[in-house]
């Protein structure tokens, strides 16, 4: 028997749905205060339910079915929620970080128009995300998937008065849609082959019917990977995330750092049974993660918009999660997902403070010397930045990223090349984040800050900063004296990594090298930006470096490539078909009938002799045909 609190599981997505609906319908009438309270408290309620469930967690999976959604022949889909260790962790993180960001936005969004609409969309987003993580079947997961995509579009283009925001939202929607198409095709294939979309029975049937490397498993895994790649902004569909920074900062923090972009990671982790049967697809996951973390790291190094740096950083960190999934380190990916949610959200919130203080200035080279006047933002950036880059032993990021780096090396599917790539990525991370910190907070002051954060902004940031430090201890590796609690907790849902392959370096050795990489990176940036800026100038003077800088700034030319290869031909075809060539056929039928009518009308001229002539001719024709 399960604890009674489990019965409240359905409240987790439903409360935010209900509050979103209320805010959409009656938000304006409610006024700003009421909207802010309703929006934040609904997420708090969701968080408290997930916390209560986590406290009462007994370890056995639990399914709650609300009603039978679709029942057509052999196709049965329920509105079902599935609770296991993975869902517990995900819902806790999602609801907690969402709550903190909602509190932050009650103050941050105060000067924006459409305040109530913002909370409505954010609540809808959280509801969809919780549906996604709790769904017990792939169709309900798809519902949540699409819901978060919709809210992402709505929130990116929140300030719709400026056309550029709408275009950014549209780009996000179209690019993720490309991935979603592959996802839906994957669903078709899975249902066709296995007869069900309920996740746990599907995985059992897959294991029973398909051997490792079966073609159907591979294709299905690749198709689902397509959806994950789109939603998580990995290569080749990462182009939408930097442009999505057009939305409000809390949106970027919640959706594009902590939750929606991790939906792809969650999907692959949830479907790990399928990926274990599809080694080629799993290797593709690792490869995509490897390539993305390096490419995005380089791009982040060349940006000068503060939020775009963080956006590329997100793409890169999710690349780490994909890498972990690809080598079979499922719980390591989830661990990094959790810590990343904390420190990346904090980075975005802090950048929101900076941007707001300087009256919507985004360019870091127009900022400088802010560390005295904006101490909260400064310390949050430092703590979160260290966590992101992996300051040894006292930051959460060190442990989660270190675990991934180690698993890339030692897991049965890991290779040395993956390990070296992960270390290079860590090096790049240290470079770009400390470049950001040194440029914005050190040096001479160029713009004076004018708005300073209030308590609603400060407290969530403090909480997140604390978590960015201590969250690492939940999965401390045994080699460093820890209990690996998170991995053990997730073990029923996500299998532990199989026996590590024999390697030259042990876990401690890998962690030490990662620490060295961190310090070298920080020192180099310190050297180039603070101690001897002239070095930067000589470096950037060269033609090669300038070209490289331009290339990395434009995200390795991917936007240009997509524009030339996909966008322009599509627009050309649409223009050529402006009058709808296919419709010509149907319009032609109408025109043909009209023409026939006009022709036949001419015979009705009232001239009886002509009628007689036609009758005679017709009769003769019939006669001739008969005797033929």
């Amino acid at each position: 028997m399960h604890p009674a609190i489990y019965n409240a599981l359905w409240l987790e997505p439903v409360i935010p749905f209900a509050s979103s609906f209320v805010l959409l319908v009656a938000g304006r009438k409610m006024g700003r205060r009421a909207a802010a309270w309703l929006g934040s408290c609904s997420i708090l309620a969701s968080f408290l339910v997930s916390l209560a469930i986590a406290v009462a967690w007994e370890g056995a999976p639990y399914t709650q079915t609300a009603w039978h959604w679709i029942a057509v022949g052999s196709f049965q889909v329920d509105m079902g929620l599935y609770l296991d260790a993975l869902s517990v962790v995900m819902t806790l993180v999602v609801s907690f970080v969402s709550f903190l960001i909602h509190v932050y936005s009650t103050e941050h969004m105060r000067e924006s128009e459409g305040y109530e609409r913002f909370f409505a969309y954010m609540n809808l987003f959280v509801a969809s995300m919780l549906t996604l993580t709790l769904a017990n079947n792939l169709l309900l997961l798809l519902l949540g998937w699409e819901g978060v995509g919709l809210c992402s579009y709505l929130l990116i283009g929140f300030w719709y008065g400026d056309e550029a925001n709408g275009l950014a939202g549209r780009k996000a929607f179209i690019v993720t849609r490309t991935g979603d198409t592959a996802f839906i095709l994957g669903l078709f294939l899975l249902f066709n082959q296995l007869g069900t979309l309920d996740i746990q029975p599907l995985l059992q049937r897959a294991a029973a019917h398909w051997h490792v490397g079966a073609a159907a498993a591979e294709v299905a895994a690749f198709l689902l990977l397509g959806g994950a790649v789109g939603k998580s902004a990995q290569l080749p569909l990462q182009t939408w995330l930097p442009d999505a920074m057009a939305g409000p900062t809390p949106t970027s923090a919640l959706i594009h750092a902590a939750t929606m972009v991790t939906a792809g990671v969650y999907l692959i982790a949830r479907m790990h049974g399928l990926y274990e049967l599809a080694p080629a697809a799993l290797f593709a996951v690792a490869l995509i993660g490897f390539a993305t973390l390096l490419l995005a790291g380089c791009s982040a190094l060349a940006q000068h918009d503060i939020k775009r740096i963080l956006a590329y950083s997100t793409v890169s960190q999710i690349g780490y999660m994909f890498l972990a999934l690809g080598v079979g380190a499922w719980s390591a990916a989830i661990f990094h997902l959790v810590t990343h949610a904390f420190f990346k959200a904090l980075l975005f919130l802090a950048s929101g403070v900076v941007i707001h203080a300087l009256n919507d200035e985004h360019d870091i080279f127009r900022m400088g010397g802010l560390r005295r006047k904006l101490p909260l933002a400064f310390w949050c950036f430092v703590l979160a930045g260290c966590s992101l880059a992996g300051l040894p032993l006292i930051t959460a990021g060190f442990y989660s990223k270190g675990l991934i780096i180690w698993q890339a090396y030692s897991s049965p599917l890991g290779t040395t090349w993956l390990w070296i790539g992960a270390l290079t990525g860590a090096f790049l991370t240290a470079l770009y984040i400390f470049r950001l910190i040194f440029v914005v907070f050190y040096g001479s002051e160029k713009l004076a800050p004018q708005h300073f954060p209030g308590p609603a902004v400060q407290w969530p940031m403090v909480v997140l900063a604390f978590l960015s430090m201590v969250a690492g201890f939940i999965d401390l590796p045994v080699a460093l004296g820890g209990g690996e609690h998170l991995s053990r907790f997730l073990a029923p849902a996500l299998p532990l990594v199989a026996q590590a392959r024999p390697t030259a370096l042990g876990e401690i050795g890998s962690e030490v090298i990662a620490a060295i990489v961190f310090f070298v990176g920080v020192y180099l940036i310190y050297l180039f930006h603070l101690q001897r800026p002239s070095l930067t100038e000589t470096l950037m003077a060269g033609g090669f470096t300038q070209g490289l800088h331009r290339y990395w700034y434009s995200d390795w030319g991917m936007d240009w490539l997509y524009d030339r290869a996909l966008v322009r031909p599509t627009i050309a075809v649409a223009r050529a078909d402006k009058h709808d060539v296919v419709d010509l056929f149907f319009a032609g039928i109408g025109a043909l009938c009209g023409g026939l009518y006009r022709a036949l009308r001419l015979t009705q001229n009232g001239q009886v002799r002509r009628y007689a002539a036609w009758i005679a001719a017709g009769a003769i024709l019939v006669m001739v045909v008969t005797i033929w």
């Binding site: 001229n605 001239q607 009886v608 005679a616």
Partner: protein
């Protein structure tokens, strides 16, 4: 001999048809119709003679009755048209246009 009868009927029918299509005077059109009816009746008689049955002649009798009725009514209509349009031109009766 009956084939000759049918052939004669065919010739007369065809002549009547030509007259019907070529003439513009309503009376002449009615005359051509009569010629055609007569020829059709002749064909029936030839057929009845070939099969050695009275049915052919009976049919011709009915055709005769129908032709008489049709001529009566048709001529009355021609009279009406002449009264209204003062001519017997078939092309004058073209009010029922589409």
């Amino acid at each position: 001999m009956t084939h000759m009868g049918l052939l004669l009927a065919a010739v007369l029918f065809v002549l009547g048809l030509a007259g019907l299509l070529a003439r513009r005077n309503l009376l002449m059109i009615l005359v051509s119709i009569e010629i055609m009816l007569n020829a059709a009746g002749l064909a029936f008689i030839a057929a009845g003679a070939a099969w050695n049955q009275a049915d052919g002649q009976v049919m011709f009798l009915f055709i005769l009755a129908v032709a008489a009725a049709e001529v009566a009514v048709g001529l009355a209509l021609v009279l009406q048209l002449h009264h209204q349009t003062k001519s017997v031109d078939a092309d004058r009766a073209n009010h029922m246009r589409g």
